[in-house]
Subunit: 423 residues, 2 copies
């Protein structure tokens, strides 16, 4: 496998994170260094949708400072989406369309920053290109706040949401400590559809026994309303206050989501909301204790103003290595993270097969929780501690608020007719 | 009025803020400097409740570094409450109890950091002491995230909640920009029972026309569901996405709270929650647009990790000046802030009568909003801009999370029988 000259496209997919742009920065800065091989680098507006719709922009015209600012800009600056490509056997037009767009623009490098659905898409595109003899190098870059990808020690995006949400729990926990005579119960909802990594990570906020959070509930451990109410009553008897963190995806013994309002998104995933509000009402009804709730929702995954530098630096390295590996001839792989030591923390990039990552889910190990299953164990602390370290340096304007980048988004001229395949 | 020797008590009341401890720090550090006059300084556990219950602790035994850390610790480190003292004519026991506790501990200085209900209590205690010939100096220190106190340019606590929430709106706004093809509408709920200062301040996040927030709704402007839905539809037609900030206290044309779930707290105030969730459901039902909501609730008022240094420094100065003024013989006043220039920003401390502050409410002037009443005007920008500047330096532990103080809380020996007046 020799030098493959051509253009590159970088796309971001799924829910944004505080550091998904750091990965894009790693891809773009490294690609720009390789200008003899990678002629142009394009961004795909709105993730994979931008490729299907041939809606690309030229990243190369942006000045270097704008590109550097990707590291201090949250969310997906290139654009994202939730757009599920179906089974290639049943829905071949979309995959063919991706290859048609790549061929029309001589795109030979596809860098896809996303979670397991995205790795599935990338894997299928890679296979189709091979079948058709179109020389293409497809590299995935791990991204998800949920931390639920297999074949990687942890996922870029997780450390930052964990640091920010744990900090908010520390702060709001002090509020409950101060106001317990009036507001004794606070319930904070954490993201996490299927796994409890984010909710559990807020356990780091508790440095001494009676601090917030007092109780943590995760999807991996079946949720019993009766036991929850007993837990709340017990902590309240002991401390006069209760601070709970609950994962949006907690399920009862029958595997049903506790959150009442459950809608289904286009991936067939349930979009959850309202479990904290539901439990707040349950607590007040059943125990008579006044309760309130915090639901940071999309604020939690974009908190660049207090993001983890460790996380951001790793996200950048994953992007950079995707380019280096692709140039070396690798395709069909995701750049993953391999931890070599907890203390002092050391971690290096590795490669995993896209197909392995595609449909696996890494659940929180039971031993990362305590015996009761309502707080974290020392094993979880050892795992998560290094991922929260350091703060991402941000830029602050004269108005005291952060300054983020805006791309010029110079469109790449279309060469194909609009896509008319089924939606 | 000469030198009045004796002890001092400092208390914090009502909802915590990110900088209420900075005011306590100003009081305590200045009081400790005046050790020849102020012999001991006590903290009241859980605000005014701690005085009624004679539940005091000795702040003087804390080391100087612990006291300095008040400036980087959110919420009310001394303890707070919502505990309404009624009309002295109808409920004289409680006021008498306060004076009894003061007399039992030779307390001659009472520093009360709080909002208008607290200033009302302080005013009444001050009058009663005068009537009974008990020499006491009562100083209020303005505190409220709501920024609704009269007789002060702005309130310590407001700048920090405004900076943090506006930042979260910027960040979550980028999320909506990236994900609009899937999640087109985001509604963020801001605190503010009666006034729109906090919700309106998030307008600072919009530096260019199409950025978040697109629409802001405040209690001062009657809320029409029909007009709201029209606004949402119009922005969505134009941009394909809508980011809304709504104050928890928005009311319809009849003056009724839009939030369905309204409970009444012990001050007779309504405890609101759920307006964002309510509007999210309304949007989806009436427009078919998918909508989600963020409700930071107690997280917003405790965000020391990205608090305003301007706000924190002013909070400290207000506390310090309360002590200096009391020592100079002043009583029955609240330390207020007087702005002398917008640009360059200059502000000094002043004094307002407690009775004036006690029951007034400063609403957001109509001219601080635009003509449509759904975003801020240049006048609001000029007002709020300087209040967000600078970041409070915090301490971060080896685990990447902030470090806050804990008082030892050495109890002051009780000298009176327990209070048995009506609750």
């Amino acid at each position: 496998m020799g030098t493959l000259q051509g253009n590159a496209v970088v796309a971001q997919s799924g829910g944004p994170t505080a550091v998904i742009n750091a990965s894009a920065c790693g891809v773009i800065e490294e690609a720009l260094k390789q200008a003899g091989v990678i002629r142009s680098i394009f961004g795909a507006n709105n993730g994979i949708l931008g490729i299907v719709q041939e809606d690309l922009f030229d990243v190369g015209i942006e000045d270097r400072d704008t590109i550097a600012m990707l590291r201090c800009t949250p969310s997906s600056a290139i654009g994202s989406c939730r757009y599920k490509l179906g089974d290639p056997a049943k829905d071949p037009e979309k995959y063919q369309r991706l290859l048609d767009v790549f061929a029309a623009h001589d795109i030979r490098y596809f860098f896809y920053i996303g979670g397991n659905d995205s790795m599935d898409t990338a894997d299928k595109v890679n296979q189709l290109a091979k079948q058709q003899g179109y020389e293409l190098r497809v590299m995935g870059v791990a991204k998800t706040i949920d931390n639920d990808l297999v074949a990687t020690d942890h996922c870029p995006g997780f450390g930052s949401v964990a640091k920010f949400l744990a900090t908010c729990v520390m702060e709001a926990g002090r509020d409950t400590e101060a106001m317990y005579t009036f507001d004794p119960v606070t319930i904070t909802e954490a993201m996490g559809r299927n796994t409890g990594w984010i909710a559990a990570s807020t356990g780091m906020a508790r440095r001494s026994p009676d601090e917030a959070p007092n109780l943590i509930y995760i999807p991996e451990i079946p949720f019993s309303e009766e036991r929850f109410l007993e837990d709340v009553r017990e902590v309240h008897r002991r401390l006069g206050r209760v601070f709970v963190v609950v994962s949006e995806g907690v399920k009862n013994e029958k595997g049903q989501y506790v959150a009442a309002q459950a809608e289904v998104d286009s991936f067939g995933h349930r979009q959850l909301g309202g479990v904290a509000d539901y439990l707040r009402q349950l607590v007040t009804r059943e125990t008579g204790l006044k309760a309130r709730y915090n639901k940071l929702d999309t604020c939690q995954r974009n908190g660049i103003h207090f993001a983890s530098k460790t996380d951001s630096d790793e996200a950048y390295e994953c992007g950079r290595h995707a380019v280096l590996q692709a140039l070396a001839g690798v395709t069909g792989k995701m750049v993953s993270l391999r931890r070599t030591s907890d203390d002092p923390y050391a971690c290096e990039t590795g490669l995993s097969n896209l197909s392995e990552v595609a449909n696996g889910v890494k659940y929180l190990p039971r031993e990362f929780m305590d015996v009761a299953g309502t707080h974290i164990s020392e094993a979880m602390r050892t795992y998560v501690r290094p991922l929260l370290r350091g703060e991402v340096p941000i830029r602050v304007g004269a108005d005291g608020l952060p300054t983020f980048l805006r791309f010029q988004r110079k469109p790449v001229a279309r060469k194909l007719p609009p896509f008319v395949g089924k939606k």
